[in-house]
């Protein structure tokens, strides 16, 4: 059952669960930050509307900088602004930023210790009809390998808004990952969120496996958990919004309790959430693991739900992975 303490969306299992894109939460958070903090500035590379920077740009035009189609320039300008005391948020599609401008981010933002917040949009295969060129499925790995960067993947629009606000109060580079399409609203405005913490969203008596999920696929993980519980297989579903720094102690305790692990993310299985958990467990508490994510392939054009099913990221695949991992215990 859903964890009642976390004030989650009680209608999450309903057919007509509310749908909202995480990028909307980013746009709202950015405007709120603009009002609270005069040092917050925003830069965008010709995608103001689709990355939802539009609201900030209209309200604070003197603090908004359009850089045109030039993602490297955007990253390094932001570094210069940050070194000078501003708190820049840079926005583009994640395939371009941090995809195209990764080295610029590495040198001028991360190694430079510049306080820049990088918002990667249109992440995952749920970017849908635009096709694989615009579906960022490697960005978590790209950012997670950089020293001392916080990597945050919100599971829904409310969490996205909270993560945006929280990113501003961290002193240092932060990567925030958002999706284009509307996804199911899992949390409420009252659900707690802190950078670096994991949250148990679904719990069963004596769980046989723990599912760690990040981003919008957490919804699929919750659907899978509901079905498994109905069949008498208890599982725990844990939301991991912060992939770096990982909530090490909590993750280890959850694995100790369940003894088997499934990781779920809309990303290549290499280097993302699953990789982070596997690296941790290999050193502390080896346990059977299964990975839900893209397997050595790009996806393609299609409707988000069609792609989720074709590439094995949905409820059915998660249920199968849980059953498989339990057998490996």
């Amino acid at each position: 059952m859903l964890n009642p303490e976390l004030k989650l969306n009680e209608k999450v299992f309903d057919e007509d669960v509310e749908q909202m894109a995480t990028r909307e939460g980013y746009g709202e958070g950015l405007v709120e930050l603009g009002e609270k903090n005069p040092n917050v500035v925003a830069l965008c590379a010709d995608l103001t509307e689709s990355t939802k920077v539009e609201g900030f740009a209209k309200k604070f035009p003197e603090r908004y900088f359009e850089v045109g189609v030039a993602e490297q320039n955007m990253a390094a300008i932001a570094a210069g602004l940050a070194i000078s005391g501003k708190v820049p948020f840079i926005s583009s599609y994640a395939t371009f930023s941090p995809g195209k401008n990764w080295e610029t981010i590495r040198t001028t933002i991360v190694y430079n210790q510049a306080n820049v917040k990088i918002a990667g949009h249109h992440s995952g295969i749920v970017t849908g009809p635009d096709g694989a060129t615009h579906q960022a499925t490697e960005d978590i790995a790209l950012m997670r390998t950089l020293p001392k960067v916080s990597v945050i993947v919100p599971c829904d629009s409310h969490q996205a808004q909270k993560a945006t606000i929280a990113a501003c109060s961290l002193n240092g580079p932060v990567y925030l990952r958002f999706t284009r399409d509307k996804t199911s609203v899992i949390t409420t405005t009252d659900t707690p969120f802190e950078v670096g913490k994991v949250y148990k969203y679904f719990q069963s008596e004596s769980p046989k496996a723990v599912i760690f999920g990040t981003g919008h696929l957490l919804y699929q993980a919750l659907l899978a958990a509901g079905e498994l519980e109905g069949e008498g297989t208890g599982v725990t579903v844990v939301n991991v919004p912060t992939i770096k720094p990982l909530d090490v102690e909590a993750v280890l305790n959850l694995v100790k309790e369940a003894g088997a692990v499934v990781c779920v993310e809309d990303h290549q299985i290499e280097g993302g959430l699953g990789g982070a958990i596997a690296e941790l467990l290999a050193g502390h508490m080896p346990a059977p693991m299964e990975f839900i994510g893209l397997r050595n392939t790009f996806a393609e054009s299609g409707k988000p739900q069609e792609l989720i099913e074709k590439y094995g990221l949905g409820k059915e695949a998660i249920v199968a992975a849980v059953k498989k991992v339990i057998l490996r215990k």
Partner: protein, 287 residues
């Protein structure tokens, strides 16, 4: 305001530039790796900045009102480190640590390792963009300090350089002056053979910058040109500084082979002898 450079100070700066070159050779010899041609070629310009142009306080490197000197082509950092040490940012003795373990003097500059560096650099084409960020912040804050960005000619082959050029002109960043070290060499050869850059002047003009040219070894002319550049309104300015790579050491001058290597002991001695006698024109004051 940058003061006019008077004759007495000019003589002093010219001597200091020779001193900077000597110390670059000594520092590179001690380091055992690093770049020779670029640092020697930029010694006069660094001397002009640190000892005349910049409004700065070496004892207070984070002073918010200081002018910013951004070095985009980080590989010429020996000339920056030597100039900073002579200006009093850190003890001259520390130059011996360049490129060694536990040093603040990284092989390519790392901002947070050494106060006064302004940025981290090495990967090319990123300096003007960072300088733009600083120029935007200064405009937002109504701060009067200036931002200077030193670049190499080779890094004008990077797309990022021209992304920055477009942005600076569009945003009328008249508090930004870029200096191009036009020494015509890069690692693989002469720039015009590797990937031609000319006409650099016409390119910057087409990007709507105010363009100046100067002899990068004539300190008086360079300072006068910077004084003109800072007076430009509503546009960013660029000074194309014509320099001789390896300047001051005969066997290094104009040789792209000296781009990325340090002198050995014998070569260093020969170089120092030459610098200390001003290429045989005077008797050394040091011997």
């Amino acid at each position: 305001m940058i003061d006019e450079l008077l004759e007495t100070k000019l003589v002093e700066l010219e001597k200091k530039a020779v001193k900077i070159r000597e110390m670059i050779i000594e520092t590179l010899l001690e380091a055992g790796s690093g770049h020779s041609a670029g640092p020697l070629g930029m010694a006069d310009i660094f001397c002009a900045f640190y000892f005349h142009i910049l409004n700065h306080d070496p004892k207070n490197p984070d002073w918010p009102e200081r002018d910013r000197l951004v070095l985009s082509n980080g590989h010429i950092c020996p000339v920056r480190y030597v100039s900073m040490a002579l200006a009093g940012y850190f003890p001259v003795e520390e130059l011996k640590t360049l490129r060694k373990i536990d040093s603040r003097l990284q092989g390519h500059p790392h901002r947070t390792s050494l106060p006064g560096l302004e940025t981290t650099s090495g990967p090319l084409g990123e300096g003007i963009s960072q300088a733009i960020g600083m120029a935007l912040a200064a405009k937002l804050d109504g701060a009067p300090h200036r931002i200077y960005c030193l670049t190499s000619d080779g890094e004008h082959q990077e797309g990022n350089t021209w992304e920055a050029a477009m942005f600076a002109a569009r945003n009328k960043l008249d508090n930004l002056t870029v200096v191009v070290d036009r020494n015509n060499i890069q690692i693989d050869g002469f720039t015009e053979d590797v990937m031609p850059l000319e006409s650099l002047r016409a390119k910057y003009e087409a990007f709507n910058w105010e363009v100046f040219e100067a002899d990068g070894h004539n300190i008086k002319m360079f300072v006068d040109t910077i004084r003109e550049a800072v007076a430009v309104h509503q546009r960013p300015s660029v000074v194309i500084a014509h320099t001789i790579p390896g300047r001051g050491v005969d066997f290094m001058e104009n040789k792209f082979e000296w781009h990325g290597k340090p002198p050995n002991a014998e070569e260093a001695k020969k170089a120092l002898d030459e610098l200390r006698t001003l290429q045989g024109k005077i008797e050394s004051e040091h011997q």
